[in-house]
């Protein structure tokens, strides 16, 4: 049953979603390509669309992957799958915190180490799937500089870069 595999794949990944959506996009891409559900080229399109649509990136990616693999039902299954873990953890934390005294500062430091690791994996996965396309890489470098050096809203950086991309591929 492919639809069950879809659910468990996203359910598993949902537990790892620490530190913002970008931490798990790479892992999703890794799984999706490994399972033969989509090609890395398809996946890179899904990432672009998910960032341009309202809502959390990771959930959008999950919804879209589900939709591509198994239609509407796939999208429901993958969305529920990725959102169950936070639900379980929120309830568990409330329960466990009555008995265990966790050093929050230390826990957060550990989580930050994990998020940096996961985001590095995402960057690596996404870089690999653009296959050395120089237009994409140039736009990436320029966007990086704009994001780090100026206070421009990231949404505008993405839209400007998308329009430039459209222009360059048409010409």
């Amino acid at each position: 049953m492919e639809i069950l595999e879809l659910f468990f794949s996203f359910f598993k990944i949902g537990f790892l979603a620490f530190g913002g959506g970008w931490s798990i996009v790479g892992v999703i891409g890794h799984d999706v390509v490994k399972n033969g559900w989509l090609t890395s080229k398809d996946f890179s399109q899904i990432v672009s669309v998910s960032q341009l649509t309202p809502g959390p990136v990771a959930v959008n990616v999950a919804t879209y992957v589900g939709f591509r693999v198994y239609g509407i039902w796939g999208s429901i299954v993958s969305t529920v799958g990725i959102l169950m873990p936070p639900l379980i953890v929120i309830m568990a934390v409330q329960f466990v915190s009555k008995f265990v005294d966790l050093d929050e500062e230390r826990f957060n430091a550990a989580l930050r180490t994990v998020s940096v690791t996961l985001i590095s994996v995402t960057l690596y996965t996404l870089l690999r799937s653009c296959h050395g396309d120089w237009i994409t890489l140039t736009l990436a470098a320029v966007s990086f500089l704009f994001f780090v050096k100026t206070k421009v809203d990231p949404v505008y950086i993405i839209i400007a870069s998308a329009l430039l991309g459209a222009l360059m591929y048409v010409l």
Partner: protein, 181 residues
């Protein structure tokens, strides 16, 4: 206003609207939601940022965790439920709609170029996020070693779940104790 008096439908609509009109992921939603909740008198800024901090140390998208916690805080279990449903519905249908449309135009070179351009910006932004995260504080050798080994392990082997849980445990129990003092 007494807590029980807030209507579930109001909670739903509030989260629905904020989710629908903020593009750019969970964090784009945060300031808009904070302002809206304060204006409605449901929650003050301090309470909001308290919950935000807590929602960040739990796995899952911030927007989702936050709406669940806020809804629960102001109207109990069902408040949390309608809040999260409100947040999830707009992106869900947006994706399905765009996904269906896009499969029709996926051969058009304008669409391909547009998406590739966006992809480029996303690569740059992720690089930027990493850069900023690395600079927010001093990392000790232990943490840097863990990050390099971890990235390598996940990229080379597919067993990322075990790697990550080991990391959290090692980080929590040995990280600070051994190296910082």
């Amino acid at each position: 206003m007494k807590k029980g008096e807030i209507r579930l439908f109001d909670i739903f609509i509030t989260f629905f609207e904020v989710s629908l009109f903020t593009i750019g992921g969970g964090y784009a939603m945060v300031p808009v939601l904070a302002k809206r909740l304060e204006k409605k008198g449901w929650m003050d800024k301090n309470g909001f940022y308290d919950l935000l901090a807590r929602s960040q140390s739990i796995p899952g998208p911030v927007a989702f965790n936050l709406s669940l916690m806020i809804g629960k805080e102001i109207r109990g279990f069902f408040g949390g439920f309608v809040g999260t449903v409100g947040v999830i519905i707009p992106p869900f249908f947006a994706i399905i709609l765009i996904g269906a449309l896009l499969s029709k135009f996926s051969n058009s070179s304008i669409v391909i170029g547009f998406l590739k351009g966006a992809y480029g910006a996303i690569l740059g932004l992720i690089g930027g996020v990493l850069y900023k995260m690395m600079r927010t504080r001093k990392w000790n050798y232990f943490e840097i070693m863990m990050m390099v080994i971890g990235t390598f392990l996940i990229v080379m082997r597919s067993d990322y779940v075990i790697v990550i849980f080991l990391f959290v445990i090692i980080g929590v129990y040995f990280g600070d104790k051994k190296w910082r003092y």
